[in-house]
Symmetry: C2
Subunit: 397 residues, 2 copies
């Protein structure tokens, strides 16, 4: 006999939720948790480089008075916003604290801007390949996602123009500096042309900059917002420069949609942890963060070099890979005829892991591509891992 509970079927999940998939990277990471696996699959900062003592002291300072335990404003901690605004201004993009809304990680910023700007069925443009969790957020908003392809290592700017004409997108989402997954950076001329296209076609740009401060070589490039201040919304984060466990990011909004983004933030979680925000403000004001960031940069530069050097001897003939000026990822391509997803089980048998490039594409994927994170291990361990990768790939043929 059926229980009364089963007599009337419950409504299922929403259609928009049905269109979002659990992250394949996340599922893969579960397979790589064996301690003997050297995993280049994650995108994790190196925990031994976190300034635990400085952060701990900053929390203790923040927790000196009960106000930090109370509800606070949706826009965020004023001192923290002043510090972030000062960093933008120092980098050539004049910014007021009032332009900024603190978010629970920059991932939340993607959701707030989707809520503020997108209705179901709206078209947006993304780079192809694209940051996965952004694709997930846009799917949950019911957006139609159209990918802008690369020509080699450069975004196809003519395609951007043609797709903007064809689709009248609400925005173009880009990680312009040391992109996840490719490590690629849009150069000065490309930035100018992307901004011009936004102005000409009347679309917004969401510029996601979690890696901006992780530069190891080359000169800093201006924010897209310097070329089109009314069109560009910028996302930033302390996840890579203080620690991701804090979950603190921000949106630098244009004036026209600031009230809407504020309402979206209020509805999302009222505000970001008062305690974490106050601790971050204390930590940044202490000056310890500059020293910690310098140390992180130096260590990651060594790790990038170790990986890029090791790839030259480990990958099969006909492979290619880049050497990014910063960030966390190298993008490699296996030779013609090889498939990175098919190769992964062979490689895992040698206790090493990477992420195939395929899941990062909204449309047809480059089956030969793979993403390798170089930040998690010291150089020796990276060399060992890449050697194992070479052995694993040699066994595929």
């Amino acid at each position: 006999m059926p229980s009364p509970e089963t007599l009337v079927a419950l409504p299922g999940r929403s259609e928009r939720a049905g269109s979002a998939k659990t992250s394949p990277v996340r599922d893969l990471l579960a397979l790589t948790e064996r301690p003997e696996v050297i995993s280049f699959a994650g995108g994790l900062p190196a925990p031994e480089l976190f300034d635990l003592d400085g952060i701990r002291a900053s929390f203790d300072e923040a927790l000196g008075a009960p106000a930090v335990l109370q509800y606070s404003t949706s826009e965020g901690n004023p001192a923290l916003r002043e510090i972030v605004a000062g960093q933008y201004t120092a980098n050539g993009l004049p910014t007021d604290a009032g332009d900024l809304i603190i978010t629970t990680g920059s991932q939340q910023g993607l959701g707030l801007l989707s809520t503020a700007l997108l209705d179901p069925g709206d078209v947006i443009l993304v780079e192809e390949p694209c940051y996965l969790a952004a694709l997930q957020t846009f799917a949950l908003a019911g957006a139609r996602v159209v990918g802008v392809p690369y020509l080699g290592d450069e975004l196809d700017l003519d395609a951007l123009d043609a797709l903007a004409s064809a689709h009248a997108p609400k925005f173009f989402y880009t990680v312009p500096t040391f992109q996840n997954p490719t490590g690629r950076t849009h150069g000065l001329a490309a930035r100018q042309r992307i901004a011009d296209a936004a102005i000409r076609h009347g679309f917004r740009i969401i510029e996601d900059e979690p890696y901006r401060q992780l530069r190891y070589s080359g000169d800093p490039l201006p924010s897209l917002a310097t070329f089109a201040p009314d069109h560009v919304l910028s996302l930033g984060s302390f996840s890579k420069v203080i620690a991701p466990g804090l979950r603190i990011g921000w949106v630098r909004t244009t004036a026209d949609i600031r009230p809407t983004v504020t309402i979206a933030k209020q509805a999302a979680d009222l505000h970001t942890s008062t305690i974490d925000q106050a601790a971050a403000a204390h930590y940044l004001a202490s000056g310890r963060s500059d020293a910690a960031l310098a140390q992180i940069r130096a260590a990651y530069a060594d790790r990038r070099d170790a990986m890029v050097d090791a790839l030259a001897t480990a990958l099969p003939a006909g492979s290619s890979w880049n050497s990014p000026d910063g960030g966390m990822f190298v993008w490699a391509r296996l030779p013609e005829g090889m498939d990175a997803t098919a190769a992964l089980p062979h490689v895992l048998r040698h206790d090493v892991a990477f992420v195939p490039g395929a899941p990062f594409y909204a449309g047809p994927a480059d089956a030969r591509a793979m993403r390798l994170s170089f930040t998690t291990y010291a150089p020796d361990r990276i060399r060992e891992g890449i050697a194992r990768l070479g052995m694993g790939l040699a066994g595929v043929a």
Copy 2:
């Protein structure tokens, strides 16, 4: 000459964002920030009752190892989920840690469930009046919100039945215990009937329980989930029992939509602050939270009594008000012919504030109603504030 920036108009905010308003309570609070104002308008816990030392020690303990600075799982801290599951089980609702997803405040839980369950145009039912920030979240999801009226102090259960038949809602949202704004609680028989209606009509129930542990009189009542375990999703929060600055809540999900809620959480902010979650787990495990909660309950009970007693002499003849068994709010009604919104400016001149009931209604409002929060001040200050309120209201006629 127009700048090139102005040649092509930018797309505006989304339609769904246009349907959400900034909280009138929030706007009002800005007016009450003068220190001489006694404000019963907010819904703020009393900061002097927070266990600052205990919480500070728990953060210090949590920050003893760098793992707490790293990314963590979307579902949340395992130890914290075990503690919350244990509390449910002890209260008669068997719960596994795996049933729980930690959220950035219970406000985020509302958003995650909206993402998981609602497509634009879907109908949901709410209590009328209803918690404001929930209405905002449902508006951003594009939901059509239908209010279920009260008959006096009891929900109109026949109306719930009829509206469920007419609209086939996706869910009914309720704050069953010490509701915001009314302080009302659904009794045992009403809970059984609400659950039966959900089973019979095939809608879900979202049971929002931020105040459950703030009981000062009367006996605890079972969760709606005990009557319809497959139909009820429960939200909880530490904002009222530890501190709101932490931003930690949870969703107790049914198995059928747990993967979908997890994806929504991942897309929302990857996960809640690793540090705050670990600190909360340490704090709850320390046993200090029980003593702190007992002290909070005792203080709030005195404050409720002070307010309820003072209202008897201060409100105009023909007014009515309730005396809730817990929570933070008294719901009062001015005499026939008086309008609480119109009275507010008169009252503010006497340096006291409340929130009119009108904004809490999805449909036609009770213009005579007002919400009074009793948690923020000590009894003497409450008596002083209510006396001022009486003077202000006396000047309206």
